[in-house]
Amino acid sequence: MPSASEVAPAIWMAPASPERQVMSWSELARQYFEQSIAPQAAPSAELHALAARLAPSGHGPGARIRALHDHVRDEIHTISGTLERSGYDPQPPLTTLKARRGTALDKACLLRALLAEADIDARLALARGRSGGPADTSFLDLGQF
């Protein structure tokens, strides 16, 4: 069955600001990363030690990625919530690790931090689940993810 957004009328609302009118997705993504993601992603000795223990450098890249992914997937409880409802700013990766709980975004940020500590290049992506229906890419709003 199609998602509700494909068969029902909807009104999208986003926070208003003068800059939004001329902003592209690239600009919006860059601004979001610099303001909300990068400040939380400071190097951490604790994360570095965990990454070294879970994914020793002697192992192959696939095995190291799996080990870090599986640790975040299994050891951190997932709190449900969309980006819009749970807040755009993730909690710091170390906080997620210690609390052993976080939203999908918190877990993704923790995994990216662990991969970075293991010297594995990783980028953060916001994906719109397909059950939410197609995205309206003409409407610049992170709430669509």
């Binding site: 199609p2 690239s26 993504a29 696939g62 799996r66 599986d70 980028r123 994906a127 689940g129 397909r130």
Partner: protein, 233 residues
Amino acid sequence: MAGGWWLDPGVSSPADFLPAEDQNAVALVVGPGEPVLTLTPTLPPEASALERRGDRAARFASARCPVRWSCARRGSSGTDLEQFLWAPGGLERDAAERLTRTLVGDAHLTGFRAAQPRDAGPLLLALDVSWSPAPRSSGDTLRLPAPLLTPPDWGDAVDATTRRFPIVFEGTEQHRDRIHIELPRGYAVEVPPEVTVPGRWFSLFVTAGKRFHGSLDRSDTRAPRSRPCSPRT
């Protein structure tokens, strides 16, 4: 992003399998590096596969009989059964009875055991059931109780008279069911199930040996995002 891994640690999928919900989805890569608005990849059906094997013995009259069922799965296939067996506190009696009705048909459950090693090996389900009597014998004919394999419960979703919206398969999946039935000594299969359209419920029937050891094999590959009809109003 070509050649890279797409990971979603928020769901219970293996690292190398992107859940169907996340496939072919709009994604905003925010950083570090140059941002890009892109689509996530779509994985082929064989990336998410489920193979179920069942063993059961056909007996006369009322008899206790072990039934073993195992599931080997890849990707997201079998996650519903996995969650079912992996519920807090383990498999409950009423859930085991529902599974018995689904897998075996009209039988009384006398015992059960489930094992669910995460990410490794098949799901294992051992049921101890009694039929009263099952299968039925009539003269020299033995009738096996239906269903041998239970098709998916689509409910009214595909009823053309009540359906209002197209059917959309959001993910791709490959299913393979095998069942092994041991007949009582002296019996043989005279009328095997008809081989129907390949890719439908029964696509292969195999007999081997005088004492019947047969396999019913169902291969079912679902097409990605097929939209067989226009919306009804």
